[in-house]
Each structure stands twice: as structure tokens, then as C-alpha cells.
Subunit: 333 residues, 2 copies
Amino acid sequence: MTVTVAIDCMGGDHGPVVTVPAALDFLHKREDAEVILVGDEKSIRQYLKGVGHPRLRIRHASEVVGMDESPALAIRNKKDSSMRVAIDLVKSGEADACVSAGNTGALMAISRFVLKMLPGIERPAICAVLPTMSGHVHVLDLGANVDCSHEHLLQFGIMGASLVGAVEHKDRPSVGILNIGEEDIKGNEVVKLAAEQLKTSGLNFVGNIEGDGIYKGEADVVVCDGFVGNVALKTSEGLAQMLATFLREEFGRNLLTRVAGLLALPILKHFKQRVDHRRYNGACLLGLKGVVVKSHGSADAFAFCHALERAADTVRNNVLTRIVERIPVLENA
Amino acid sequence: MTVTVAIDCMGGDHGPVVTVPAALDFLHKREDAEVILVGDEKSIRQYLKGVGHPRLRIRHASEVVGMDESPALAIRNKKDSSMRVAIDLVKSGEADACVSAGNTGALMAISRFVLKMLPGIERPAICAVLPTMSGHVHVLDLGANVDCSHEHLLQFGIMGASLVGAVEHKDRPSVGILNIGEEDIKGNEVVKLAAEQLKTSGLNFVGNIEGDGIYKGEADVVVCDGFVGNVALKTSEGLAQMLATFLREEFGRNLLTRVAGLLALPILKHFKQRVDHRRYNGACLLGLKGVVVKSHGSADAFAFCHALERAADTVRNNVLTRIVERIPVLENA
């Protein structure tokens, strides 16, 4: 079976200069994949530099959704935007998944408008992968839902567990809830109620996880309110950037430290590779009737290619079917 | 003027083995300071190892508040605990500040019960200092208040600005609110309302700060809900631990990497020093009629000494008076 990925080539901070080479890399890596490059045909051809590929097609789209554009206006006014056309291709079945590095709010809104939500799910949740001491963890929601009810948190648990179960072939992935203490009595009312529901949900619920537990790998899936999740993610990005800057500064301090830095270079490179956020690029918008993956806006070709691979894996492992199968659990909840 | 600090010697993961040597270091560093060591006299004397000090007194307390003990029970049943007696010393005026590495919930509850809140403030907020690209930032609340109203967030802004203004002699410290986007329309209702109030508060309000903005140093003070703040802090701790572990692992991989590690050791040490969380130990419980500083439970003597210094600085710079002076602003809000 072939997996066809529709790529919003114009989205993100860089557009086709990043998305087109990433698409070619992706085709090279995944022989089961086809891509549809969506966007301004002239720009796309420019970055293809005359290279063709039997598993590559171009679909022209005349508009682009701006990074700061209002989602509502994007739905109403940008019907021929690269983002909209890519999502339409998923709706029509021509593509199995869509990947965009564009405006997150618009991607969520258009996806929801075009593809609709799975029954029992109210809004998409953004689910990303982060590295941990012992492997990695899926965290959701990372910013789609700023005010979550306990039912939403339960839904996140079910969707996250379905995703990890499908993609990593784990029978009963562990699910934790992000909280400010390990004891049952901690946290706000919504989190306490959600924890009670998760306990009886049939999921492999491991209870409260504190912020540091995310990176300790205390659960396969960590659920949280989109506000809290977004803060945790961005705070991590900021801290990692600061530490990287300080490390560079220390090694660049003088001739002696630069020599030591040269000697340590292979080690530092290996370290960097191990925690390279680009390898974790590509967050799934879960709960939609279709596979939509959001790449970081500033992704380079290496990172964007990872988002394409994540989309292909999500399709390949029937994540949507797995979520739908778990939906009766939601109705009984 | 002498600053007298009452030290809960029994609190924290380690008790007097850490708190007593830290107290001696503190006395050595700060000639304007006196300490009252509160706790089991026999244990304290054991760790003093016969060393006396003209600016050191011992106040025996027969009980200890357990790290997992319920705050309500600690108030009711542990009237001769080291924590309670240390706070009582602040109430009676015998000490200017109290420092404890013990149970946070109990410390908050007992402080509030004994010292009472400043007029117009409902609950204490935990305010800690974090390093940034360009210096450091004060963040509050870090876990005292799990459900904040917009009025609470405004109060945090005023208290945080008063603290920074006093301790760092800044006239108009900048205040930001933690949010999930820089635009005004982002975030939940409470945060939006709080941002509106902060705008007209007379503070030097710089608007929304995203998680990464904390470490970029985008404001002197960042206010947030205690749930969000606690998650941000603990997530940072977890990430920093993971990165440190990975770095150690990479340098310990084989003989060659170990040699490179030896050469890079002074650089890595300097790097570590720069971001050493122990130097940032000591969070102020703001809003009380008295200075109470919470040390990390697992603090070592170096870190605990920093918490003692923070307490002395808070007293020395009249932070309470500064907060009280700003309170009319609260009443008009």
C-alpha cells in the first residue's frame, strides 16, 4: 500500500526552500510514499531545480495563509491557499495525510472545518513527541485547547494511548496526567476529576506526573490542558536554547577553551544529536477524521522531513481506526 | 542594623546535617546577620561539633513536621515543631525572617495562620529566581495557588515588582504575564482579564511572555497561575537533569571521550556553575506579614546558605514595606 502525503509547501517561516528539498529526501527514504506538493507551482518548480520524481506531483494553489492571519478569515477568504488545498486533498481521499508548517490556529480551524471531528471528540488536540531519559514520551494537548474540561483530558488520554499503541505497537501504553504533586489530593479540580475518570477508563493509567516526570519517562503518554502543555513545551525550548548558548560561549571563551572544544566536538555533536528537537518535529492533530501533522514553523529540511515521516507512520499504523475503536469507551465514560 | 534569621533546622530531606553547616557559612559571609537555630537541641549541637559563634543561638523544638504531613494537622498538632517555632519567632519580632526546607504546604499554612496576610492579599505566592540569557528573572506563583483569579495575578505582579524593585534597586522592573502566544487575543479568560488589569495598574507591564521568554529574559517579573508555574519550574528541572545526564554519558563513553572530558573539565565546570540551580535556591512566600523563605527540600549546605542570604536580602531591602506601599493600587484595582 502506498501512503500519499499532501504537503503545504508555502507554510512555515521558510516555505518551498525548506519543504521541497524535504519532500525529495522523504521520497528517497520511504519507497512506499508519494507526495503532492501543494502551492505556487512556479516557486515549487524553482526549488525542484528540474529534478522530477515518479512519486511526486504538484498541485497549484494561488494563495497562502499568513503566519499571523486569523483562522476565521483564513477559512472564509483563502479557499485556494496551499494549506486549504492540502487539507481538501485529504478530505477527497486523494491524499492520506497533510503536513504543514503554517499558522497553527488556521491549520486547526481549517482541518476541523473541512475534515470534521471524530464522533465524541470536540476539538483537535496537538500531540508531540519529546525525548526522555529512557526513550520518548507523547504529550498532549500542547496548545489547541486553552480551557479543558475533565472530559477533554480523558479524551486526550484515549487518543494518546491509541496513537502510541498503533505507532509503537505497545499493547497498553502507560498514561499519566500532568500535575503539581504525586499525591491524589494535589492539583486543581479539573485535573482531580480527570484523574478519577482516567482511573476507571480501562487505560493503563499511572496517576499524577510532575513536570520533571515528563523527561524522566514516567509514562508513555502525558495528558494536560493545552495552556499548561504549551507553557511546558516552550519553557523547555527556551531552557535548551539558553543552555546551548552558554555551552557555546564557554567553549568559545579563549584559544585554550576553543582547542578543548575541538577535541570535544565529536562528543558534543553526539550529545546534540541525541536531544536534537528536529528529530522530534511533527505534532499530530488528533481527533480529526483525517491525518494532519503540524511541523514547527521554523523547521529546516531535516526537521520537516521528520514531520513527513511522522505523517506516513501515523497513516501506515492506522491510528485513526485505533482511536475510533476506543470511542465506545468515551461514550460510556 | 542586624538581621536575625530563624532557621528551621529539622526541615528538608537532610535536616541539621545540611542546615547547621549552612548557618555557619552564612554567619561567616554576612557579618550583619544573626541566626537562631530551631530544632532538636541535641542534634543541632552534634552538627555544630563544639563550634560556637557569638551570633548564633539555639532554640529547642521537640517536634518535626513530616514532609508528607497534612498542613491542617501540622497547624493543629505540631505546636512545638521546628517550623512552627521558627515562624513564631518572626511573629514575636525576635527574628526578622524564617527559612525552612520543609513541607511547602505546611510552611504556607502555618505562616499564614501565625503571621497573617498583608491587607488586600488573599494567599501567599511562591516567588523564585531563575537564570536567563541576560541575568535572571523572578517568577510567581510557583505552586501555592492552583486556581488563580485575575485579581490574584494582578497581586502577584505588584508583589513581584515590589520585591525586584527593593532587592535589585530597579525603579520600574518590567512585568510580563505567562501566556501561550504574544498576541493579546491568546490565552484563557483569566489571563486575558489579568493582562488588561496589569496594563492599567501603573506597573511597567510588557504584555504576554511565552514559556521560552522566561529564559530569554523578556521581563524582570513573570506572573502565572501556581499550577502553570509549578509545571514550568519542574519541567525545567527535569530537562536540565536529563541534559546533564546525557552530557555525562557522552563524555564517559570510552577512554578517548574521557580524556576529552578531562581537558574540557574546567569549561564544563564553569558552565555548570553558571546555571547551578543551587545558586538560585530560596523562594520567597510573598504576601505575608513577615519574611518567610522556602528552600528546596533536597538543598545541600551550599544551596541552603543561598536561601539564608535571600532571606537576609529581603529583610535588608524592606520588601514588606514596599509591598504595603503598593497596596492602595490593589484597592483601586
